[in-house]
Symmetry: C3
Subunit: 160 residues, 3 copies
């Protein structure tokens, strides 16, 4: 498929952003990174792992700054997209639409800017997928996340 | 389509309840109010905005009473239905079924009546849609929600 | 359909585990135990009720141990499967795939082993359904759940 310079493919957009997808995570225990039903791909909740370590642990905004939490949200998305690519032969080009994000932010009780944290994820998806990357979203706080991560994100993707 | 007096349309039921849908919220940042995939419409998490201000902020039941939280839950639903109507040419009559609600209640640690808060949402949906308004639901507590809102609700709707 | 001894049906696997599904819970208030749309069955958030009482209330790991929370997670799954069976004429054999779990664990602020709690649910599903039981999953902590339950789990199931 030819792509005009105005509408780069998701893979081209990733490269243009200087981003490389991490290796797709391996199945852990009795659950799997994603399940496809019809055209819908449900991706398990992703933590902000980078090179085997969590990018941010602890509550937002203290000790984890808003900036750092946004970066963690971006990393969750990269990890989730690695799962998608792993399901689709290594490419993101079969993504028809990012349908929904569930964003959980480990939050101090008085922190109310979960949407700004989630924007780290949402903005990246729009940069990579353009209009197809614009999604429905629920962003909420929580007092505790797995392994002490500051952010966890689950994704729902429509494939073509 | 004719409607008997026994089964008013959702729009008629809304009017009968003396309720008017608010204007559909505009897209904010990189996410959108809803995404349709097949017949499923995923609606972003809704906060209890009314006339531009949040109806309830803070934890339930202190400082926000159970009654007030139920009212906030109702408002989240009205805002979500405004999104649905905005997607469907201004009417709710293409709603085939309310499939699922995700209800998050900003809760004091010892508050355990999240289902009663969520009933504010669920009862309203049944009043508006009758049998088609009866849905699956997950209601949970949390220590912090966006902008300090007391309730956030996301919806999944099947359209015909 | 014949089943080899290597691949017992879900009902046979349940019996082999010495487990019996509880009675399907009755509809409560304005929401229902599950909603089907197409081949997808959305099951409402399940609490760890057994014989009418909650198996575990309070935060994990204190006062509720990790072991006890895992047992509660298993009970949530049994209750959810009772809903599925109730929808499918009493059998689990029409389950094509467990698609997704949403697992909420009432957590002390320093508890970060929500995945281990959720494994109680995930492992049981794999024992019952084999490969078809392996699912996508989001496991998060929260400060408060309905009725003080230690665990709440919602399920998404694909039927054939």
């Amino acid at each position: 498929m030819t792509q005009s310079t105005q509408t780069p493919s998701p893979s081209q957009a990733l490269a243009g952003l200087g981003l490389v997808l991490p290796p797709a995570p391996k199945p852990v225990a009795s659950y799997v990174p994603c399940v496809r039903t019809g055209n819908l791909l449900f991706i398990s909740g992703q933590l902000p792992f980078r090179d085997g370590a969590l990018l941010a642990t602890g509550l937002v905004p203290d000790p984890v700054s808003l900036d750092r939490a946004q970066e963690a949200a971006r990393q969750c998305i990269l990890n989730g997209l690695a799962v998608v690519a792993g399901e689709c032969g290594g490419s993101l080009d079969r993504v028809a639409r990012i349908v929904r994000l569930g964003v959980f932010v480990a939050s101090c009780g008085n922190f109310t800017e979960q949407p700004k944290v989630a924007n780290g994820a949402s903005d990246l998806l729009q940069q990579i997928f353009g209009e197809s990357g614009r999604h429905a979203r629920a962003a909420v706080g929580t007092n505790a996340l797995p392994l002490g991560a500051s952010v966890e994100i689950e994704m729902l993707v429509e494939l073509r």
